[in-house]
Symmetry: C2
Subunit: 333 residues, 2 copies
DNA sequence: TACAGTCCTGTAAGCGCTCACAGTTTCTCC
DNA sequence: GGAGAAACTGTGAGCGCTTACAGGACTGTA
């Protein structure tokens, strides 16, 4: 058993000053003489004093912590290095502050209850929400708590006041424009779920690029981001539009399904049909052929969400952000 | 702005009892009449009261949170779904308790300082440490703090009192025995860094299996877990032991490098040379051919670490755990 | 009826810190 | 040298909760 850590009062005694002065030194407030400051600092280091966060929180009404809540149990969150990347980004910014990171996986009912408890017990000063589903209950909970909240991604039904999102539309458009520049004209698309912001945005990006180039945007199959739906979509496309020479697929998982179908049908990639995916999942570089895809700046999203939240906590008014994506060129185009 | 949340005192007033009684109800202590209890519960739900954690922490000297510190910036931690899996496991157990999860990435100097601060300011009741490097400073910091600490993995230099680890040796042995059972006899190995517990254990597992089967354990190349070192190791092995018919590789990354070299040298896998890796990284199922490998129970490690820590916090004396691995059979054997 | 046990309840003293307030000292500038 | 401002410091009242401790109200027993 370790002995009880030293308190501010003991520091004050040792330094021969009052507790108020010690507190001022700790929070480097003004109005402290060099002499007192030095005495206090000496006492602090001799005693190995570190302020007790609970006591400080109680007095200041500030928690010194933010919570990152991850809502969906969507496998998309776990495929990929999504998790690691977001957290790396969040951590990088938090390291520059005194804020601690609390993590809540709120996929289950229980997890949601825990999240609610954190909010209501005021265990955190702010919230970062990765809620990929539409109408996610966490979103409302955070709002009702009144805590500053930053969203990662948007839903179609409601644009949160503060969010960071990837440029789904722009990314899709760039991907399709890349296909066009490579001389493809009969470009099809397999969409994701259109009732998600990402799915909708990527589809819009496709249409935008095609229309602007004066090409037909009518070669469309609808999927749900899953590998199986990608395969099914590809089959439909081959039936309906045997002339297609490229396909923009709204997720890598679907693209993988599509590649299988193309192979089964004797289509060579990219010679006969070029394929572009979206997300740059880890396996994208190991497909046959390696998949050209759109990479989302996930770590940057984590970073920017955190920056935004920190600003909010400082009373500033940040502006929401849409981050650019990268087109990763590989052998499938 | 939301109004200040209700306090315990307001609950007491509304319920017509004293604060002591309310506190007893909240912590469901004994000696509360049904009448008071009901009155208090009614008041609580009417007011939407939730105890303030900071105040409670201050009074009880318990924080209601544990910290998960991830030390290494080792890419191995980020390849894979390591991150997501560990956290999923940790979260699953934590959901059954009232403990919150604080996450610290302590790869940088700054991160380490933050970790120290958490320990010293007593912001957490216990520590889970994923410190993959030998002699990791975090390990000592945690120990000095006196907080209950559970380690994920071991280092060679020092076995922590409480840890959860995967059975590296047993996993390796099972992999090699699988090769033997398939009729291979000239089995080589490419080791990982032997000064890590994992590298050492896997090598021991290889030797154990070979010796027990009466086979030579002398076909050895040493690597450092990286893809490049796997390729280099494979080259050496082919030169020194052209008769080899199988190779147990201590990491998937190295196995991928080895597969490349085998292909370049016209060796067919698995016909000429069977290959087994270790870790089951996401890409292992997409290699050519798909890689047979040893899967570590990462989520289970997270779960067991957390269980162990919870027991420790309850004053129980848990015992350290070595979790079994799984052999994932694919086309490379 | 008296007396010890049990239960229940209220009271109040902390937990370790911050911060307004008031008091004291030191400057600054005529 | 003195008035007023500025800088410094100590004091003490909280922040919202827990937890002895001290009763008071019952119960059962002699």
């Amino acid at each position: 058993m370790t002995t009880r850590p030293p308190t501010l009062e003991e520091v004050a005694q040792r330094a021969g000053v009052s507790t108020g002065t010690v507190s001022r030194v700790i929070n480097n407030a003004r109005h402290v003489s060099d002499k007192s400051r030095r005495a206090v600092e000496k006492a602090i280091s001799e005693l190995g004093y570190v302020p007790n966060t609970a006591a400080r929180s109680l007095a200041t009404q500030r928690r010194g912590a933010v919570v990152l809540a991850i809502s969906s149990d969507d496998p998309a969150l776990f495929a990929n290095l999504f998790f690691a990347e977001v957290i790396t980004g969040v951590n990088a910014v938090l390291e520059e502050t005194d804020l601690q990171l609390m993590l809540v996986l709120a996929a289950s009912e229980r997890g949601r209850a825990r999240f609610a408890k954190i909010l209501q017990s005021r265990s955190a000063d702010g919230v970062m929400l990765l809620a990929l589903k539409e109408n996610d209950p966490l979103s409302k909970m955070a709002e009702e708590s009144g805590l500053p909240t930053v969203h990662g991604g948007r839903s179609l039904d409601r644009t949160p006041q503060w969010y960071v999102d990837a440029d789904n539309r722009g990314g899709a458009r760039a991907a399709v424009e890349h296909l066009i520049a490579a001389g493809r004209h009969n470009i099809a698309t397999i969409t994701g779920e259109l009732d998600t912001h990402a799915g909708h945005g990527r589809f819009m990006g496709y249409r935008e690029a095609m229309v602007l180039a004066g090409l037909s945007d009518q070669r469309v199959a609808h999927g749900d981001f899953s590998e199986a739906s990608g395969a099914a979509g590809m089959k439909l496309l081959l039936d309906d539009h045997p002339d297609l020479d490229a396909v923009f697929v709204a997720s890598d998982a679907m693209a993988i399904g599509a590649l299988d179908v193309l192979r089964e049908n004797g289509k060579r990639v990219p010679e006969d049909v070029a394929v572009v995916g979206f997300n740059d999942v880890v396996t994208a570089r190991n497909t046959q052929p390696a998949l050209t895809t759109v990479r989302q700046p996930i770590e940057a999203m984590g970073r920017e969400m955190t920056r935004m939240l920190v600003r909010l906590l400082n009373g500033e008014q940040p502006t929401s952000l849409i981050l650019p994506t990268d087109l990763v060129l590989r052998a499938s185009t």
